[in-house]
């Protein structure tokens, strides 16, 4: 028994008390800052360097829904692109993921775009069914971590459940493979309404590196309303939980 007490005393308090302002490593890549008025030839070069076409070659804006967070734009064109470690990058609308030059950090979460019933019904309890559809298991592991002793999203009544019948919505990871498309559809259908759809990770939001692969079938994403976009490669647990808090108005 003494050994167990020793473990508990070493373990100490693990939970992150303030999920909004938890310090993360300087090198963590979250919200980018893009300098306005960048040299057009340099912007064009950055756009052609970007492996997923996240940078617009005309405007120099950066689409977080396509960004792999590889940091190459910032390393090669530091006078234009810089990643801050601000992990609050989830958005309620797809267009809000596009970061424009001259931005001053995060544009903030657009709470008005959230359907009213979502906050009214799920603010104090949100049960989610996760569906991995070609996810590489890093986003899945981070979603598991969101419920662990450190991030503990259970404090808000948010948790993953085993059955879609018990869920208030689904969280999709991966680019949505053709071989998983039907199972995704069935899982969504099995979830009682009203329900939310959350896309977690760059693969899920835009297809990422796999957007043009013949093995991908994204019809489901295209035909449904998405309530929350959580970018990342993978999405950090803090990004995911902050996105949920913003969506629910916590």
């Amino acid at each position: 028994m003494r050994k167990e007490f020793r473990i508990l005393s070493d373990h100490g308090l693990q939970y992150v008390p303030d999920l909004r302002n938890q310090p993360v490593s300087e090198r963590f890549r979250g919200m980018p800052v893009i300098t306005a008025g960048g040299e057009p030839s340099r912007i064009e070069a950055a756009a052609s360097l970007c492996p997923t076409g996240a940078i617009d070659k005309q405007t120099g804006s950066l689409d977080l829904g396509r960004c792999m967070f590889c940091n190459e734009c910032a390393l090669n064109f530091p006078e234009i692109f810089r990643f801050t470690n601000d992990y609050r990058i989830a958005a309620s609308k797809r267009e809000d993921l596009i970061v424009k030059p001259g931005n001053n950090g995060s544009p903030g979460f657009d709470g008005k775009a959230v359907r009213q019933e979502v906050r009214r019904l799920f603010k104090r309890s949100l049960k989610l069914r996760q569906v991995s559809a070609g996810g590489d298991n890093s986003c899945e592991m981070e979603l598991n971590a969101a419920g662990n002793v450190n991030f503990d999203m259970g404090r808000f009544g948010i948790e993953f459940v085993a059955s879609p019948r018990h869920a208030d919505g689904i969280v999709i990871t991966g680019p949505v493979t053709e071989n998983m498309a039907e199972a995704l559809e069935i899982t969504y259908e099995a979830t009682p309404s009203p329900k939310v759809i959350i896309l977690c990770g760059t693969d899920a939001i835009s297809g990422g590196l796999f957007a043009d692969s013949p093995a991908i079938a994204r019809d489901f994403i295209e035909k449904h309303h998405v309530d929350l976009y959580v970018p990342g490669n993978p999405a950090h647990p803090l990004t995911f939980i902050n996105g949920l808090m913003d969506m629910l108005g916590i």
Partner: protein, 506 residues
């Protein structure tokens, strides 16, 4: 045997000319390969075929653990419907490679027990073969029933379908149907000329092994480009690979505890895993090490500050993990669930061609860091950790022992690094490749042996890229391990192997 029947290379060395690989008559190929694979110290790294002209060229890479050599055999087949005599009846580990070749190119293998689909790729030969008509093995009997699980599982994990045939609570047979995760990774490697895109793809093959697969790819491109990584870069890569191993092993220990409702073990290990992956994040900005491994150099060269942080965290992790491990593996309620559960025998492991952890828990010393060393492991003494019993307990204990081993390896490596000239430069994505070549790269990821093979055309472009995750072999090991077990023990069996779905499905 002589050199004219095959070529010999070492891991992570100069590629061979594709024209220099002897093309054997199939019967001679079969005889040679079978003879070699029937040795305990030899196993197949990869066997695949690709189109040449109107026909197909088959390449078989066999690893000889005693000599550290990789032998490359080849044969060709014309554009006809003739069948080949299967290698599987005399060497069962080849079953998966022949199934893969059959699925992709429609080649028939006579005598193969069952050419079942492997991953339903978009480029499969038979488009009528779809996820919904998988040919399951069935048994009939009044006392028998089937249990189907997945593709969407109870937890937050990747998709796959498990079909159990049970007699009451006892599992008689488990069939694992995969392919849900197929993203077409291999063809994306050859379709792009963008080196950075390929690197990011390699980190996405299996996100829980971003460093392992990233390194296998970087090593392969460097070998094709004739680039020799400086010592400091080699050491950094080995440290990153060991950190990945430590983090996953601790995370898996937490998950094993979860499955037997031992909450103290679960939460203590979860917190320790967080400390390790946050150290990786401190180094490169990503908890999974994405962004860390690059061909030709690194965007995040190791610094004195980072090594100090790594050593500080590992010292604490080692101590605290040691304490919790001594609780976990002495607790009767845990031992009752782990001991003699999900046993894979040594014979079974050899038969399915098990690699990595799954092999080492059955007393088979397959650890490519020791047998086919790469990067700075060539200058490092690696003593593979072994267990003998092949049960869940062994797979848990192996993890605990490997965490300690990896901590010691990192201590040794950082010591070496501090004495070295720091020559790590920026990454090089535009490396030119040696034309008309075949290169092989093997890395011991935390699950086991990762093998990437590339073939370049006469213009130096990548024309074929083949990836093998250790899970390709080891899924069958899991299926055998649960036979005659209670179905309620499936979760601990599954977790103790922790195999990759996307690594298999590609």
């Amino acid at each position: 045997m002589n050199g004219r029947r095959y070529l010999e290379i070492r891991n992570d060395s100069t590629p061979v000319d594709t024209t220099g690989i002897p093309v054997l008559d199939y019967s001679l190929f079969r005889e040679e390969v079978t003879a070699m694979l029937n040795r305990d110290d030899c196993h197949c790294l990869n066997y695949f075929c690709h189109p040449v002209g109107a026909g197909l060229r088959f390449i078989c890479c066999i690893a000889d653990d005693s000599s550290g050599l990789i032998r490359i055999f080849s044969h060709e087949k014309g554009d006809d419907d003739s069948a080949l005599q299967s290698l599987t009846p005399s060497c069962s580990a080849m079953h998966i490679f022949e199934r893969e070749i059959h699925e992709r190119h429609g080649v028939r293998f006579e005598g193969h027990p069952w050419l079942k689909p492997v991953r339903y790729p978009s480029y499969r030969a038979d488009k009528l073969s779809v996820m919904n008509n998988y040919p399951f093995y069935t048994m009939a009997g009044e006392a028998l029933h089937e249990v189907g699980v997945g593709p969407v599982h109870a937890g937050v994990i990747e998709p796959g379908h498990f079909r159990f045939t049970c007699n009451g609570e006892e599992v008689l047979h488990l069939e694992i149907q995969l392919g849900y995760q197929h993203r077409g990774v291999e063809s994306l490697f050859t379709e792009t000329g963008d080196g950075l895109r390929r690197v990011l793809l390699s980190e996405s093959i299996a996100g829980d092994t971003a460093v392992g697969h990233g390194l296998a790819h970087a090593q392969l491109v460097e070998s094709l480009a004739g680039f020799n990584p400086p010592g400091s870069l080699q050491v950094e890569r080995c440290i990153a690979l060991e950190l990945e191993r430590i983090a996953v092993h601790i995370g898996d220990t937490a998950a094993l505890c979860t499955d037997v409702a031992y909450q103290l073990g679960q939460v203590a290990c979860e917190a320790l895993r967080t400390m390790v992956i946050n150290t990786t994040q401190f180094w490169c900005g990503n908890r999974f090490g994405k962004g860390l491994i690059r061909p030709g150099g690194s965007n995040y060269p190791l610094t004195e500050e980072i090594t100090v942080e790594i050593l500080r965290v590992l010292e604490e992790v080692e101590r605290r993990f040691g304490n919790i491990v001594s609780c976990i593996y002495t607790l009767p309620s845990v031992l009752g669930r782990f001991e003699e559960t999900g046993t894979l025998t040594r014979q079974q492991a050899l038969a399915v061609g098990a690699v990595g952890m799954a092999a080492r828990t059955c007393g088979i010393p397959r650890d490519t860091r020791a047998t086919h060393p790469f990067q700075y492991y060539r200058q490092t003494v690696i003593n593979p950790v072994l267990q003998e019993r092949g049960d869940v307990m062994s797979r848990g204990m192996l993890r605990a022992m490997e965490v300690n081993e990896s901590v010691n390896i990192i201590r040794g490596l950082t010591g070496e690094w501090s004495k070295m000239k720091k020559e790590t430069e920026r990454p090089r994505y535009e490396l030119g490749f040696r034309p008309g070549s075949l290169a092989v790269s093997v890395v011991e990821g935390w699950r086991g042996e990762i093998c990437h093979v590339a073939v370049t055309g006469i213009n130096g472009r990548l024309v074929h890229y083949r990836i093998k995750d250790p899970s390709l072999h080891n899924w069958m090991a899991l299926a055998l391990a649960v036979r005659n077990q209670e179905i309620s023990d499936f979760p601990v069996c599954n977790k103790s192997f922790n195999l990759s779905y996307c690594g298999n499905d590609l």
